[in-house]
């Protein structure tokens, strides 16, 4: 129960941070929009089923789309990472870790190496798909590649910061 409550609060908070702060940063705005909202998907407990992560991804993506006036753009990217998340986790984790279902992916519960790979692959897939969809609308290959890499780097930096700042290690126990 507290899990649902915690994740609902995260859902709202992350969306607000994304809409109010990150989408408005002026100096790097046009080219790089850092994304933090999909940390919601990253932090869902291990036990969340694939259908749940996909639906939740769609939900948070579509809610973000309401604010950015791009119906379907973030929804598609977020439901894609929601769908792929269990696969990546299964590859990365030993059986015994992923059996503790209520735990959440973090540096503490996964270790630095696997978590970084997990973070990188999810971030990269999200941005690649997101920018690909944008690119098909606007069309400029340099823009596409540049935006994928710079935005991914920026977002990863932010997510790592959030990870370290919030010190979620205590969840390991």
């Amino acid at each position: 129960m507290s899990n649902i409550l915690k994740n609902s609060a995260r859902f709202i908070l992350l969306l607000l941070i994304q809409v109010i702060i990150l989408n408005e940063i002026p100096p790097i705005h046009q080219f790089i929009t850092p994304y933090l909202y999909f940390i919601f998907i990253l932090w869902l407990p291990f036990g969340t089923s694939r259908i749940d992560t996909t639906l939740l991804g769609f939900a948070i993506g579509y809610t973000l789309d309401m604010f950015t006036n791009t119906p379907g753009l973030h929804a598609a990217a977020a439901s894609l990472i929601g769908y792929l998340r269990p696969t990546i986790l299964n590859i990365l984790l030993a059986q015994e870790v992923s059996e503790e279902l209520s735990k959440e992916p973090s540096i503490g519960s996964m270790g630095w190496g696997p978590f970084m790979i997990y973070l990188f692959s999810i971030t990269f897939i999200h941005h690649f798909y997101l920018v690909l969809l944008e690119w098909l609308q606007f069309g400029d290959f340099g823009y596409f590649i540049g935006k994928v890499f710079f935005t991914s780097g920026m977002s990863m930096l932010l997510i790592l910061l959030a990870e370290l700042l919030l010190n979620r290690r205590k969840l390991k126990r």
Partner: protein, 284 residues
């Protein structure tokens, strides 16, 4: 058939994922103006309210920039006012060949500059206002200063490279030519050093019939101020039996307590006017 249903059931997650992808891609590709209005109706109830709250906050932080923009725009608009221009004299025939045919084109007489107030006093007997605009930015001595709502503030008395000093109306030596709006009878605005709200209008002929509440404007005789700028309203009339003139107490229209910007007015013909006024005095 059974196999197909079984296959779908087995891969239920994958199919729902596919459906979600298709739904979002269709939304994305068919997004257009008509969708915007359709989605807008129910999306905006949530997103719109959050955005409007956010905008209120963001607006607060942009107030400074907005203010500067508005000042610039006001100056531009003020410079377009018709009263800044004098028409060509077409009533006189000139013998030269280069007679102007276009009588609609006007000559600019007044020009406006914005200036930020950096120092202001109103409690002394001789009050000055310091502004951040100097000779390098086009300020000259004797330029008039008016407040953003169009009422007069004072006259520039000292100028250096980047700053200038304005003698406020609240100065014992300040004297501005003014007139009653009702019958256009001229007098001069002075200050007795008592209350920052009350100015004195002296030398009004007793033939004038001022009433309490009458508007006082700048007169066309002033070389610094454009005519018909607001100065204030009459609050009381002092009748002095020993002289031929009335003195009026004026509630100043300018709020000297919260000046942030002033507009400086440059009269392009001021020197010519001062010149001719001085020449007359030599004949006495």
């Amino acid at each position: 058939m059974k196999n197909i249903i079984g296959f779908i059931r087995q891969n239920f997650t994958f199919f729902s994922f596919l459906i979600l992808q298709i739904v979002s891609l269709v939304m994305l590709s068919s997004y257009s103006k008509s969708h915007q209005t359709f989605f807008g109706n129910w999306n905006n109830t949530i997103a719109g309210s959050v955005n409007s709250y956010y905008n209120e906050w963001a607006y607060f932080f942009e107030l400074k920039a907005t203010n500067a923009k508005l000042v610039a725009e006001n100056v531009a608009l003020r410079n377009e006012l018709a009263q800044n221009f004098v028409p060509y004299d077409t009533s006189v025939k000139s013998g030269t060949l280069i007679l102007r045919k276009d009588s609609l084109e006007k000559i600019r007489k007044f020009f406006y500059y914005p200036a930020k107030v950096v120092g202001n006093s109103f409690t002394l007997q001789k009050n000055y206002i310091t502004i951040e605009r100097g000779a390098l930015q086009g300020v000259k001595k004797d330029m008039a200063a008016i407040s953003p709502d169009g009422s007069i503030v004072g006259v520039v008395v000292e100028v250096n490279d980047h700053y200038s000093k304005i003698m406020s109306l609240l100065h014992r030596n300040s004297k501005v030519s003014s007139m009653l709006k009702r019958d256009r009878i001229a007098g001069s605005i002075e200050w007795d050093g008592k209350s920052p709200d009350i100015l004195l209008l002296k030398n009004i002929s007793k033939s004038a019939s001022p009433k309490i509440g009458d508007t006082i404007l700048t007169s066309p005789y002033s070389s610094s101020f454009p005519a018909q700028l607001m100065i204030g309203r009459v609050t009381s009339i002092i009748k002095d039996p020993s002289s031929n003139f009335l003195t009026l107490n004026i509630k100043s229209a300018t709020n000297f307590y919260n000046l942030e910007f002033v507009y400086l007015v440059e009269n392009k013909r001021m020197e010519a006017q001062a010149d001719i006024e001085q020449k007359g005095e030599g004949n006495e």
